[in-house]
């Protein structure tokens, strides 16, 4: 069958699956534009790398993906790359390939300010919202089986449920909760609590066994890290003036730089 690079060369487009409601990684802003950190990474680092490889300019096409749909989207060729908030896990590596890690976070809880929930130890018996198909749901099931898990198809519906008090807490990766909180109508009503109860390195997912394409994607990311472009983009979204201020710890920065292997 056709490889992904061949497909891109033929169609002149790179199709990615991304989110409409996961600020600041990928969401629809007030101008109804589809933007975010993940999307910028693709546009500014990966597209140039792909264009260079195929020798012509490539356009980007975005489709919506959600935790429950992203692997099927890849395997049905509907998209070539998942660029959103997908955690790289070993079991997922059975079905897809991942790029370098481009963000590191861990799961926490979003609660109304003043909630008794303080972390994964205190959610027993509580109503916990999670996204269907996300890693968090699986972990809660294993670690605190007494929690009443409610799974929603996407992040906004889950947050909605929390906002209305339908659930006591919403669990997701800390950075996403921070994004959600920052974009909420009244950010101060919300609190992110608990230590990371999981380790969530985000990667971009691709169809399995397509080494050429993976190299092109990784090269794009590594070039960005080398040139500092990656950190500019990070600053745009997570810097002090960014959408969701979230300074990068020195360890994470070092980890990212170490990922970029020499030319």
């Amino acid at each position: 069958a056709e490889t992904t690079m061949e497909k891109i060369a033929r169609t002149g487009t790179l199709t990615i699956g991304t989110r409409t409601g996961s600020p600041p990684f990928a969401y629809v802003n007030k101008q109804n534009e589809w933007v975010g950190f993940s999307i910028d990474l693709v546009e500014q680092l990966i597209i140039p790398s792909v264009s260079k490889k195929v020798g012509k300019s490539i356009t980007l096409e975005k489709k919506e993906s959600a935790p429950a749909t992203r692997i099927p989207l890849l395997s049905s060729n509907a998209v070539d790359l998942i660029a959103e908030t997908m955690t790289d896990t070993r079991s997922r590596r059975d079905s897809v390939d991942f790029s370098l890690t481009f963000f590191v976070t861990g799961a926490q809880f979003l609660v109304k300010r003043g909630s008794p929930i303080k972390g994964i130890k205190s959610v027993g018996g509580k109503r916990v919202a999670a996204q269907q198909g996300a890693t968090n749901a699986k972990i809660i099931r294993e670690k605190t089986p007494t929690a009443q898990l409610r799974e929603f198809p996407d992040q906004p519906t889950a947050f909605q449920a929390l906002a209305q008090g339908q659930v006591d807490t919403y669990t997701n990766d800390g950075i996403q909760l921070a994004g959600l909180k920052a974009k909420a109508p009244n950010p101060r009503d919300w609190e992110i609590v608990g230590d990371f109860y999981s380790y969530e390195p985000y990667g971009m997912a691709m169809r399995k066994g397509d080494a050429d394409f993976r190299n092109v994607v990784n090269n794009g990311l590594m070039d960005g890290i080398d040139s500092g472009k990656f950190f500019e983009i990070y600053d745009k979204w997570f810097g002090p003036k960014g959408e969701v201020p979230y300074p990068m710890s020195p360890e994470v920065k070092k980890f990212l730089i170490y990922q970029a292997v020499p030319k």
Partner: protein
């Protein structure tokens, strides 16, 4: 990339249990919604054909409004919109007791109630007007004429279209997955996300729906035969879902 079939995902691990839970939730929500729809539909359908003016207008409004807006919108409406209007205490109680289930149930029941209403109305109207006149001219009251003549005939005529509508309700319960009700389609998707075996999971879900629907319609066909009035052909409304 070639697709690797692995049917064992359907019985290994938790999947079997998920499917069973899905079936039971689908049936629960459908049965409750069916009862609600039945009550709403019968009331408004009868009121629309014979009720006093304000009631028939109200019924007409109910039917036209709920029937003409997508079920999915109603799901969101009942789940995200309505609780906000309730007093705090009621909200808390609801949220502690499976609000998504009840919202889904109401969305389904109220929506299909409006559609039942139409089926019932056309059933009643398909009975010749002279049948009512015959009853009235022997001195029966309008209520008695409905109770003993019109409704019994209509009910028999209605078995096939009601069956149709009931099956639609059962199938439409799948829309409740959008507000997080863990019904059969939701569980099918769940299996798929955990195993990445879309084909197997969807096949299982599809077959279960087929068995439920075909089984129910076979049962209703038997019932229809048992209740048939000699010489009356059924079929009041065309197929619609």
């Amino acid at each position: 990339m070639r697709y690797q079939f692995d049917w064992s995902v359907l019985w290994s691990g938790q999947t079997g249990q998920w499917l069973l839970q899905g079936i039971s939730t689908t049936l629960e929500i459908s049965v409750l919604a069916w009862l609600l729809a039945g009550v709403l539909g019968t009331l408004s359908g009868a009121l629309r054909t014979a009720g006093p003016r304000p009631f028939s207008a109200l019924s007409a409004f109910y039917v036209e409004f709920f029937r003409n807006v997508p079920l999915l919108v109603w799901m969101f409406f009942w789940y995200f919109g309505i609780p906000l209007l309730l007093p705090r205490l009621a909200q808390d109680w609801l949220f502690a007791h499976g609000a998504e289930f009840w919202a889904g149930m109401f969305a389904l029941g109220v929506y299909h109630g409006a559609r039942f209403s139409e089926v019932i109305r056309s059933g009643i109207q398909s009975i010749p007007k002279t049948q009512l006149e015959a009853a009235l001219s022997t001195g029966l009251t309008v209520t008695q004429a409905y109770r003993f003549v019109i409704i019994p005939i209509a009910l028999r005529l209605l078995i096939p279209p009601i069956t149709n509508e009931s099956l639609n309700l059962l199938k439409n319960s799948s829309v409740a997955l959008t507000i997080g009700v863990a019904e059969l389609t939701f569980q099918t998707r769940q299996i798929e996300t955990y195993t990445a075996k879309a084909f197997e999971a969807l096949t299982a879900g599809t077959l279960i729906y087929l068995v439920l629907c075909l089984g129910l319609s076979a049962f209703m066909a038997v019932l229809e035969k048992r209740c048939a009035i000699p010489g009356l052909i059924a079929r009041v409304t065309p197929a619609e879902h």
